[in-house]
Each structure stands twice: as structure tokens, then as C-alpha cells.
Amino acid sequence: MTAAAGSVEGIRSAIAKGETTAAAVTEIYQARIAGEDPRIHAFLSVDREYALAQAARIDDMAAKGESLPKLAGVPFGIKDVLTLEGFAATAGSKILEGYRPPYTATAVRKLADAGAVFLGKLNCDEFAMGSSNENSAYGPVHNPHDLERVPGGSSGGSAAAVAAGMAVATLGTDTGGSIRQPASFCGVVGVLPTYGRVSRYGLIAFASSLDRIGPFAATIRDAATVLGVIAGHDVMDATSSPLPVPDYTADLDRGVKGMKLGVPAEYFAEGLDQEVRAAIEAGIERLRAAGAEIRPISLPHTRYAIPTYYVIATAEASSNLARFDGVRYGLRAPQSDTLAGMYRRTRDLGFGAEVKRRILLGTYVLSHGYYDAYYRKAQQVRRLLTEDFLGAFREVDAILTPTAPTPAFKIGEKSDDPVAMYLADIYTVTASLAGICGVSVPCGKSRGGLPIGMQILGRHFDEAAIFRVGQAVESL
């Protein structure tokens, strides 16, 4: 298969023209998974027959000469925090081992309706809590660029699967950086859509005011096409937006001439790796040469974003994860004499250390006597952080930053220090709190060959602008 045929549109049109079949494409990717994934561990479950049955339906349509839907025959992987009826959905946790959800997430259903083929479910940090994928109860994912390094997290499997050519596109979720940071570490495109753009129905909740679903792909064009499919209003998610979904691929080739792009000083301060800085600054210079107007801007509350995020996200998590109690689904600890004892033993057996740490922190910041000092305070600072962005977007069309302060770090390097691990999200949590959209796009490599990502942030519901800039970065 040629490189062009490995793209969303390449696959769809090759099947439509009879140059290949969806079944043949599916088998190529299944063979890659069989060959590559024992070293990478991106997939938690695969179902060969299910994928081939989806492919057969596409091949039937093609044989009858019917027009094929947008994602016809395109091999996908789905992060294991999203439900597909009847398929395991572990959320990377022992507490959901063996759980078969009775319903399908809206974003997953929309992919299926558009002809996508599901190869399997993807590894991630437990309940999407982590920046390295080391918190998966089923073992870490290895970065395809260097197997001793992390792929980033929490959507590490989703990023690694695309980077290793084991899927054309995948779905991930992003609460504080969990799509953008692994995209940066694995050298692929990862999209954080505006809050409300994609329905959260069927996403196993971590922090509901922050959680978002978005695509990974090798190119901006593929990612934009997938977002166009999964975006839109859904009665099953009260926070999903009724705004119409534009064609995100329409403006991709317009270039950046005349666009105003902001560069915030706070994202290039202490703690930024020198090679990452050099790569991002070189990318910015190339955008300037391509006709963009580069403007220095300030987002003054940036340094407060990590503490704000870890109060709000853990508070919401402690509430959301109360539902895992051994009563309705998943694990139940055996031989408990009382209900309270059963709850405790189930949660003790089922949750890993990072999940317990965040539940405890969230419970603490919401508890009597601390609510105002921590939770209310963090919500107030969230508004200040958001106002920083709203102010900046009156001056510029998009904002350029590094996605992460370093390239991928080594497995085990930060696993004993929660604060050091949380700082891996320092450039991504701000957009999460503000609800704006963002994308990480590959922008050079370190001397050691590790990918570096540029983060492009845009106004609420202005994904078209960040894709336009991303496309320019990609083609520089």
C-alpha cells in the first residue's frame, strides 16, 4: 500500500475505485498489530472478526457501486475509556475488568456510521489519570520511537498506535493534556476540540467540566476529517453545543498569510528543554516567513494553571469515581459481610495508587472547612486563566506554544514524584481549563531523534483556524 493510500481519503477512494478492499486493508493493519504490538502494547483488546464484518459491509457497498461514507474502510482504534456495546471497556483499571458496556459512545457510533473499521481498544492510564501511560493496570505502553521511553499519557495507546502504523486514526480523550502531550511524544497529530464540540456520552467520566474526546492521526487533514465526523450536538450530553459543524478541511490549504499568531512569553520560560525551545522557535520563524504576523503576547496567570487544574480535576474525579462500588458493574470484592465493607474492599482491590491519590485529594479539597480555600479558590483562578485567553484572542487568531516542556521521558523516570509528573502537563492544562480548542502537530525532532510537538491554541469553536496553521506547520 502506498503512503497516500494510508490516509483516510486515500483508503476510501482506493476502495471506491476497486483498487483494494476494506477487508484487505483491515488485514494489513491486523498483521501490523500482530507484528508490532507485542513490543509496544498499545492495544488492550482486539476483535478480528468484528473488524472484518465491518469491512465486509463496506466491500458490499463498494461492489454495488454505492457511494462510500467518509471513513469507509478506515482502520481505527478506540481509547478504552470509550464504550462500544458488548466490548470490554476497562478504562485501564482492574475495577472494570470483564465489564461489557450495554451502550455505545456517541463519538464511536458516529465513526461506525461513517464506515470506520474498529481494530480494537487502546491502552491508557487508569481512568485517564496520568501523563505517561505508566498508570495502566494492564502495563505501560512503549513509545514507538524509543521503546524505553513513555508514549505520554493518558491516551498513550492512541498516540502510539498511529505512530507505529497500527491504525490510520484513533480516538483519545483529553482532560489536562491527554491527547496533545502523547501526540507530541509520539510525533503524530492530536486534537483537543472545543469543550462541547464532541458529545461525551459513553466516555467513562474523569472530570466532567474538562473531559473531551478528540482524534489522533498522522496528518492534520485526516484529523480534521475525523473531527468533522464525531462533532455535533447530542441530546445525550447536556453540555454539547448546538452550533453547526463546518467542513474542517475546506480552509486547510489557505496558508497563514495575514493570520495573527500570538507567542506567549510564559510558555518559553524556565523549565523548557533547550532542544524543544529551538524546534518551536524555528517553526514559528517558518510561519513568519510564510506570511503570518507573529505577535508577542502575555497570559499572566499561566503559572497558576497546574495547581488550579489539580484541585478542580481531582474534586470532580472524587465525585465521578464514587460510582465504582461493586454494585452495578465491574469488580466486587468477595466475602464482605456488610455493604460498607464491600464498598471499601472493592475500591481497595480495584483502584491503583494514582487513582486513590486523586480521589483522596479531591475528597480533601471538597471536604468541610477546605472547600472555600481550595475548590472555590481554584474555580476563581480558572476564570482568570480563561480571561487571559479571551483577552489574547481579541488580538490574535491563534496561539503558538510547545506542547510539552521536554520530549518523551524514560519509563520509570518520574513515577515516584507526583508533582514532577504533573508538571509534564504545564503547557496543556491551561486550554483544558478555558475550554478552548488546540492541536499538537509534529515540529522537528531532538538530536536523539525524539519527536517534538507544537501546540496551536484557538478560540472557542474555531478549530478551522488551528487546522489551517497546523497544515502550514506540517508542510513547512
Binding site: Y99, R100, P101, P102, Y195, G196, S209, V235, A238, T239, Y304, I306, P307, T308, Y310, V311, A322, G326, V327, R328, Y329, G330, R332, S336, D337, T338, L339, G341, M342, Y343, R344, R347, D348, A353, K356, R357, I359, L360, L361, T363, Y364, S367, Y374, K377, A378, Q379, Q380, V381, R382, R383, L384, T386, E387, L390, P418, V419, Y422, A434, G435, H460
Partner: protein, 111 residues
């Protein structure tokens, strides 16, 4: 290091109880150490004067002007109309213990 620890051994046990988590003695001391480290980091939020700042709970609050949000036509709430929900049989199939109609649990009330 702070002069006094924010989270004491009593605090961590109380929070674990509120969260329905069972912690071993070893876990208890590690979690207490980690929570204190994180809360020391969070303490820098105290540098900001937020007396005049409204808390922000949802992104939708900043998408429309307050006067618009208050108006009926921009209400994001759906109409309160009953809709079909998940089939009981399929839901119960995922339960650890059920009689097909109810979820079964260990005894709640001591007699």
C-alpha cells in the same frame, strides 16, 4: 517544608473514610506525604487576590454574555420529556450479583 503539615494522620484516615477507600498503614503514610507535597504546591494560589472574581464551574459560562445566558431562548437545558432508557436486562447483565430485577448487595442493616 511547611511549618505544620496540612494533612495529619487523622485527616488522611477521615478523608479515606469519606471516599470509601481502605488504606494500609504503608499506603496511609505515602498518601499523606504525597497530598502534603501537592497541597504545598497548590498553596501558591493564595498569592492571587480573587475576592472580586466569580467562580467558574462550566465553560458555557464564558461563551455567552450573562444577560444572554439568562434569556429563555439561549437556555441550554433540554425540555423535560421522558425518553426510553437502557434495557433492564442488558444493564443487569453487567451486575456482579442480581436477581434480574434488583442489584443484590451484602446486608445493610444489622438486626
Amino acid at each position: 517544608m511547611p511549618e505544620t503539615e496540612r494533612v495529619s494522620p487523622t485527616d488522611i484516615r477521615r478523608v479515606a473514610e469519606l471516599a470509601n477507600l481502605e488504606l494500609t498503614t504503608e499506603e496511609e503514610s505515602r498518601m499523606r506525604r504525597d497530598l502534603n507535597a501537592i497541597l504545598d504546591y497548590v498553596a501558591q494560589l493564595g498569592e492571587l487576590d480573587t475576592a472580586q472574581v466569580e467562580p467558574m464551574a462550566q465553560v458555557s459560562e464564558v461563551l455567552v454574555a450573562p444577560e444572554e445566558a439568562a434569556s429563555e431562548k439561549l437556555s441550554v437545558l433540554r425540555d423535560d420529556v421522558p425518553r426510553p432508557c437502557l434495557d433492564r436486562e442488558r444493564v443487569m447483565a453487567a451486575a456482579p450479583e442480581t436477581d434480574g430485577v434488583f442489584f443484590k448487595v451484602p446486608k445493610v442493616i444489622e438486626r
